[in-house]
């Protein structure tokens, strides 16, 4: 777990959140959501194993209801982000979906990169590290906007 900070979200008087991000960053978020949807359809992939891994350590396999619930959870947030990625203002529920997609994106990517310890990050490419830092900035900005209301 790591500490980082800030990016372009502003809580408005009506509780919604203004999104002040370049179109390239919005596209990045939309693509991250789409990638999660694809991972959900690829049971053999490392990302799938991370996102849909076993919940109950004491059972041979998870109850199918849990597996379905996880799938629906991913589908829900992916749909919410796809619908709001280009909006100038999003509501708090959509912001939570953005946060969810970004969190699952990091989780998926860290599994694909084989990261097991924080020291492992020293071995990833500059591009992958840049992606992680973009996600951190977006997450920190969203949390700030959701937890510490500001006013335009």
């Amino acid at each position: 777990m790591t500490r980082r900070r800030r990016a372009g979200f502003l809580r408005l008087d009506d509780g919604r959140i203004a999104v002040r991000l370049p179109s390239a960053v919005r596209s990045f978020v939309a693509a991250a959501a789409e990638r999660l949807r694809e991972v959900g359809e690829s049971p053999g992939s490392p990302g799938f194993a991370r996102l849909f891994g076993r919940i109950d350590e004491t059972a041979d396999a998870d109850d199918p209801a849990y597996v379905l619930a996880r799938q629906l959870a991913v589908d829900d947030v992916v749909a919410a982000v796809a619908a709001s990625a280009e909006k100038p203002v999003i509501d708090p529920e959509e912001a939570e979906a953005w946060l969810a997609v970004l969190g699952m994106t990091l989780s998926r990517r860290s599994e694909e990169l084989g990261l097991r310890t924080e020291e492992d990050r020293a071995g990833i490419t500059r591009e992958d590290e840049a992606v992680i830092r973009v996600v951190y900035a977006l997450q920190a900005g969203l949390i700030d906007a959701l937890d510490e209301p500001e006013h335009a």
Partner: protein, 106 residues
Amino acid sequence: MGIDTSAASVAGAGPSVAERTGVEADAGVGVPYNVVLWNDPVTLMEVVVRALKKVFGYGSEKAELLMLTAHREGKAVVWTGERDRAVRHCLELGTYGLQSTVARAT
């Protein structure tokens, strides 16, 4: 903040995931289970703290302590209770990208 932060409420539409899958109706009553949060090398501490506050209704101090326990020791028991609720909490933590499992409390 309560525990009503199912994935559906995160997305903000329609019936909850639990309602659609029957997860909440699962058995396991009476035997306590732990929700175990696992450390990972990429998740922001702020995200972990926020997730613990939202999912379990913890205050900042407790959420931060549990986060640091997982960070330093590799894992932390973040909740104990009925199995069906433990599983539901795992699902909720998963929507933040966090790794968690349930295990029978010893």
